[in-house]
Symmetry: C2
Subunit: 337 residues, 2 copies
DNA sequence: CTGAAAGCGCTAACAT
DNA sequence: ATGTTAGCGCTTTCAG
């Protein structure tokens, strides 16, 4: 490998010369135009192979005014992003659909400080559209992004504008189902480790929890914010137990936090599933790797990712998809509740 | 948001007109050239602000023959990538250094099927260089990549070529230290859940394990391949226990697999750390979230990421860095061994 | 069905 | 210190 990139790459001009046609014809072949004679097509294709020609992306993008690239923006810091299997699942879904298209996906982990740079990138015409995947809510830079290129959000944005496109999960219903499940099993002293109060997903799940309890004429045993991380989840559970009083059951608004809750419970000599019923949310890999395996609310993250990608692709193709999709959740019974 | 991206973006021409200078002067300002009079600089800067000018990346890249973008190539499937905190840590390190430079980072999750497309992307002049981060070894497409742009590998490549640049961790020494630690505590019947035989990291750690045992005149109690995943780690541990015979201790070549091993041990009524000593490898978040917390070999993944990024940046700047860096590991004592 | 010509928005000599 | 002049490699009318 030389220090300077190999720039001897063949150009369309060279391919044209070798095939004995004009640049235009080569361009037509490369772009799959039908208006090319079989003979020309064959000659061009051969030349492309021989020269190992790959069109220069910058030139193409400059001329055509589109990049065939989309950005996957993650307004989270790296730890958080990689710490939560939820993201893996959603990204897998997105990447699957984008992978089947002729777009490439640029992942931008745009936490705090890096966001100005990321915004510049997005506004510099580097991508045709963006998917914003996050638990989060209040990223001001995201707003400015939407003025530049079409955007699809994962989860309901903090302030929904009429033009916004997003794919969400029915978090309120999920929270309600989880709580009702606990109620149905005879639990009455029910606490929750909630998601952050500044994230729609957290807010909605808590809402569902309160709804179900209220419908049963009950008060929450306790409500503690667990920040959607394992550590904070454990801390929240510790706070719930700090009074010395122990709930019958706890609805933990994410599997990762539930993992933390297990730890906090065991520190107090309490066995999850036996002494305190625990129900999670996500059905991520964290749920099955716990012992006892976690009863949880499954959200179709992979599918959510796919739908977001499709929505953006539709938008880019001028197909005007429905602006919103809400996916259902489902309860998964395992050993913890 | 309109279906067509906002393309009214200001061009350098408009900025020049507004500032009353030529395109060249604007270009100089944008690129931080010193040869610009204070007056002109001021006028241009004002015009840029007013017009919200952002240089078009494609045009810039076409003219300058560089993209100011680097690719982070992950030759793993999404599940694996997101399932292992090791990657999070390494990506965080890379992204930190790249974030401080004026390069942007494009993450390419290029598993199996997607790799052809990814290769095309990289060869189309979309990036100035690439970092390949993986446990893996035998990705043929990577070889062709290195002929196109400068590449830095995370971990020793399968076949090291004289021109290769990489940053690795001293896996052999780490494996040796882990095993010696077990030996020092009086364990004699020592098994290992090893990494895959086709990944240098797996091979090297196993080598260290064998070295230490041989030096003590001992044979391995058992050697089972755990594929670097939690599930396979659990399976490997189950296989070790299948004979009915129980080892004193086990060296598990990754924290994630150790998590699986805990599960397998407990299924058999064996308590990790009490009945069977367990030592891991990574010191990822998986290690501390286990109960008892995992004694493990810390590898400086974050630092490894940073060094890889620096190496690539040096390469791109024509600074010719040392082609290899090997980082030391360190033992972290916790409750499991 | 094919070629010629005119840019896309920017940088980089080269003058001045 | 600043402007002028050529392109970078490709797509896209527009003729033919």
């Amino acid at each position: 490998m030389s220090l300077t990139p190999v720039r001897g790459a063949a150009t369309i001009e060279e391919v044209a010369a070798r095939a004995g046609v004009s640049r235009s014809t080569v361009s037509r072949v490369v772009n799959g135009s039908t208006a090319v004679s079989p003979a020309a097509l064959d000659a061009v294709q051969r030349a492309i192979d021989e020269l190992q020609y790959v069109p220069n992306r910058a030139a193409r993008s400059l001329a055509s005014r589109q990049t065939r690239a989309i950005a996957l923006v993650i307004p989270e810091d790296t730890d958080r992003f990689f710490g939560d299997p939820f993201f893996g699942s959603i990204v897998a879904g997105i990447s699957q659909v984008i992978g089947e298209s002729d777009y490439v996906m640029n992942m931008l982990i745009a936490s705090d400080d890096a966001s100005a740079k990321a915004l510049g990138y997005l506004r510099s015409g580097s991508v045709d559209g963006a998917i914003v995947a996050s638990h989060h809510t209040s990223d001001t830079f995201i707003d400015r992004l939407a003025d530049t290129v079409p955007v699809v959000y994962g989860g309901r944005p903090a302030r929904v504008r009429p033009t916004d496109h997003y794919v969400d999960v029915d978090n309120v219903q999920g929270g309600r189902d989880a709580t009702q499940y606990l109620l149905d099993r005879g639990h009455r002293r029910i606490a929750t480790v909630a998601g952050p109060a500044d994230m729609p997903a957290g807010i909605d799940r808590l809402q569902g929890f309160r709804d179900a309890l209220a419908a049963a004429g009950l008060e929450p045993f306790a409500v503690e914010d667990g920040g959607f991380t394992e550590t904070e989840g454990a801390d929240a559970m510790r706070r719930i137990l700090a009074s010395g009083d122990v709930p019958d059951a706890v609805f933990v608004a994410s599997d990762l936090m539930a993992r933390g809750a297990y730890t906090a419970l065991r520190e107090r000599g309490l066995e999850p599933g036996r002494d305190v019923a625990v129900i999670g949310f996500d059905d991520s890999s964290a749920a099955t790797s716990l012992l006892p395996a976690l009863t949880t609310i499954r959200q179709p993250s992979h599918d959510q990712g796919r739908q977001m990608a499709r929505m953006l692709l539709d938008l880019l193709a001028g197909r005007a998809p429905a602006s919103t999709a809400i996916l259902p959740t489902e309860i998964i019974e395992r050993g913890s509740a």
